[in-house]
Structures are given as structure tokens and as C-alpha cells.
């Protein structure tokens, strides 16, 4: 029981680190896609392609660079989580009513001021929903990390498979499913709350 708690904590830790990184990188790329017109298609297509790559394939390739262990898993999760965050940042800013942007320009705000005072705050609910999708997906995918030597709840699942022990598999699987549902639930609640405030 104690060990499952440990695996759960490690699992969450990996997902958390990955999501923080991918939120930072994703929002940056989303803003770049918004600012630089001809880059938007390239960035979004690339992120789309990365997400299409099978997870084991991506992790295996990353392993050749980062070696066995948590770093590879985190790198893989970051790459995977980029698409929803980039896309939501981009469309979130894009869909702000033109008159609001015009007003900001008219008041003499610089590009950065507009970004931090107007555009990002208004796009925040959408960005958050992107982070939610990324987090819930990452909780599921990180199970595979055990195959490239990372820790987390994938470990008991894999051990269970190897030893034909359904109980052991479940001991890892149930927390994963619960975590995914829990995060989905909590983040959906938060999402609704911030959306209401913004309106």
C-alpha cells in the first residue's frame, strides 16, 4: 500500500513537471504563432504531427538522446502536451473581439503590454482548458514511461503484466484512472469558475 502511494506521488510529480514546462513553452509558441502570421500554420502542423507519433515510438527516440529514466518521460510528455496548449493559446487570443484589441492599440499600449494586460488574461480560460486536456492525457501516457525506465504508476502495472498478477496491475491502474477522472473533474470546475468571472 505504501509503495503505491509512493508511485502515485512520483507519477504526479512527473506529470506536474511536464505540464509546467509544456504550459510555458506552449503559451510562448502560441503567442509566436499569433504574432508571426506565416509561422502559425507551421507551428500548429508540427505540434499536430508530434501528437500523431505513437507514444512508445516517441519515447524510444527520446531515450536515444536522454537515456533511460524520468527525464526522457518528461521530455516526451512535454512534447505531447504542446498541441492542446499551443492551439488553445492561439485561438484564445485570435478570438478576442477586434474592438477590444483596437481599443488597446488606440490607448497606445505596446505589443507586450497588450499581450500581458489584455490578450493573455482574456484568453486565459481557453489556455487553462488546453492545460487541462494536456494534464489528463499526460496522466494516462506516463504509464508507458516504465518501458523506458521511468518511475510512477506504470511500474506496478508492468510488474503485474510480467508476473501475470491482475491484482498488481489493478493496484497501478485504479489510481491512474482515478487521478485522470479527478483532475478532469477539478480542472473542469475551475475552468467554469474562471470563465464565469471573465464574463
Amino acid at each position: 500500500m505504501f509503495s503505491i502511494l509512493n508511485y502515485t506521488v512520483e507519477h504526479l510529480y512527473i506529470v506536474f513537471i511536464a505540464c509546467v514546462f509544456s504550459a510555458i513553452i506552449g503559451v510562448m509558441l502560441g503567442v509566436i504563432a499569433y504574432w508571426v502570421k506565416y509561422l502559425d500554420a507551421i507551428i500548429l502542423t508540427l505540434a499536430d504531427i508530434i501528437q500523431t507519433i505513437p507514444s512508445l515510438a516517441l519515447l524510444a527516440m527520446l531515450m536515444l538522446i536522454f537515456g533511460l529514466g524520468n527525464t526522457t518521460l518528461i521530455a516526451g510528455l512535454v512534447l505531447y502536451s504542446l498541441l492542446p496548449i499551443i492551439r488553445n493559446t492561439y485561438t484564445g487570443i485570435q478570438s478576442i473581439a477586434p474592438h477590444i484589441k483596437e481599443a488597446a492599440i488606440g490607448m497606445g499600449m505596446s505589443r507586450w503590454q497588450r499581450l500581458f494586460k489584455i490578450e493573455l488574461p482574456l484568453a486565459f480560460p481557453m489556455i487553462f482548458s488546453g492545460v487541462k486536456i494536456a494534464t489528463v492525457t499526460a496522466i494516462g501516457i506516463s504509464v508507458i514511461g516504465v518501458l523506458i525506465g521511468a518511475g510512477g504508476l506504470g511500474y506496478p502495472i508492468y510488474r503485474g503484466i510480467q508476473s501475470h498478477n491482475p491484482g498488481l496491475i489493478l493496484s497501478g491502474a485504479i489510481p491512474v484512472v482515478l487521478l485522470a477522472l479527478l483532475f478532469d473533474y477539478i480542472m473542469t470546475l475551475l475552468e467554469k469558475k474562471i470563465t464565469v468571472i471573465k464574463k
Binding site: 507514444s55 536515444l64 506504470g154 491482475p166
Partner: protein, 214 residues
């Protein structure tokens, strides 16, 4: 580099075989998935209350990691292709089911009323109006399923189903970088290519009348 090419040439039979098995697994699983999901999605569109429940359960099943399901398949059905196909098909059902249901229920009710008003039977309305209008959404569901299944099929190697996962997996356990690169690259390439191909088909079967307003 030349070392890698020699490796490719030496092992080309095995590589092609893995690729073929992988694609075979995916096609069979997605095909079974379609056969089950499209009729059920269509029927559910007639029973919206039941549908909410079913889709809720489907959503929960979707959060179960593929590795877990494959693990259970191994424990209960043993090693081989069949358990892998069963699990993969199960996963393939989910996005197709959801998209079929949503595609049909989101057809504007005016079209359905017009269709009823001019004397179409409910079967005719389904085949001439609802399904054609939902087709794009259904194919989009098939695309999502296929890309997922290509990914999860790499894990199927763990329960002895073979495929590209076999190359990656053997590579990982014997630290053979060449094997890993070949397996991973091929898996990535077919996922991207097949995804793009289905997207192209989706565009192709969407009637011109539905594409004009974007």
C-alpha cells in the same frame, strides 16, 4: 550511417514483416471498431437519455491506459494476436462511437423536419440526410481512432502480437539503437501518413455544398 544501412538491408525481411503485421493489426481493429461503433452510435442518436449514460461510461473507459487493458488481455486471454486485436478494437470503438452520435444529433433539426414534411421514412431520413451530413464527423472519429490504435499497437508487442512495437521493444531490451530507430521512425511515419490520408479522404467525401462556408 553505412552501418545503419547495412543493418537495414540485413534485416529488411523482418522489418517489412513487422510493418505488415502492425498495419494488419490496425486495420482489423479499426474495421471491427467501425462495425460496432457506427451502428451503436446511430441507434444511440435515437435514445438521447441512454446515450448520455453510455457516453459517460465510454469516457471513463477511455481514461484507462492502453497498457492496463493489454495487461488484462494477457492475463485472461494469454499471449497472441487475438487478445491484442480485442483490446485494440475496444479502444477503436470509443472515438468513432462518440463522433457518430454527435455527428447525427448535431444535424440541424430543420433538415429533419423538412425531410419528414416531404414524406421521407425514418430510414430514408437516416440514410439520405442524417448520415451524409454526419459523415465528416464520423470519418474524423475514425481518424482519431486509427492514430490512437497505431500508437497502442506498438504496445501490443508486449503481449506477443508482433508489429513495430516488437522492433522497438527488442531494441530497448537489447540496447540495439538501430532497431529502436527503425521501429520508432516507421511507427511515427505510418501514423502521420495514415492520419493525413484519412484527413484527405474526409475532405474528399464532404460534398461541395458543405465546404463553402467555413
Amino acid at each position: 550511417m553505412s552501418e545503419f544501412i547495412t543493418f537495414l538491408l540485413d534485416n529488411q525481411r523482418m522489418i517489412f514483416q513487422s510493418l505488415a503485421i502492425h498495419i494488419h493489426l490496425v486495420i482489423v481493429a479499426v474495421f471491427i471498431g467501425c462495425l460496432i461503433a457506427i451502428p451503436i452510435g446511430t441507434i444511440l442518436s435515437r435514445y438521447q437519455k441512454t446515450a448520455k449514460m453510455v457516453l459517460g461510461v465510454v469516457g471513463i473507459i477511455q481514461t484507462i491506459p492502453g497498457l492496463v487493458m493489454l495487461g488484462f488481455a494477457l492475463v485472461f486471454f494469454g499471449i497472441g494476436k487475438l487478445p491484442a486485436v480485442i483490446v485494440l478494437a475496444l479502444y477503436a470503438i470509443l472515438p468513432i462511437l462518440t463522433n457518430t452520435y454527435i455527428g447525427i444529433t448535431e444535424v440541424d433539426k430543420h433538415y429533419k423536419e423538412a425531410a419528414r414534411g416531404i414524406g421521407m421514412t425514418s430510414i430514408q431520413i437516416l440514410f439520405k440526410v442524417e448520415l451524409p451530413l454526419a459523415l465528416s464527423a464520423i470519418i474524423s472519429g475514425i481518424k482519431i481512432s486509427t492514430v490512437y490504435i497505431i500508437s497502442w499497437a506498438t504496445l501490443a508487442a508486449l503481449i506477443g502480437a508482433g508489429g513495430l512495437g516488437d522492433l522497438i521493444w527488442t531494441g530497448l531490451s537489447t540496447t540495439n539503437d538501430h532497431l529502436i530507430i527503425v521501429g520508432a521512425m516507421l511507427a511515427a511515419v505510418i501514423a502521420v501518413l495514415i492520419g493525413a490520408a484519412i484527413g484527405y479522404i474526409q475532405n474528399l467525401v464532404t460534398p461541395r455544398g458543405l465546404k463553402v462556408r467555413r
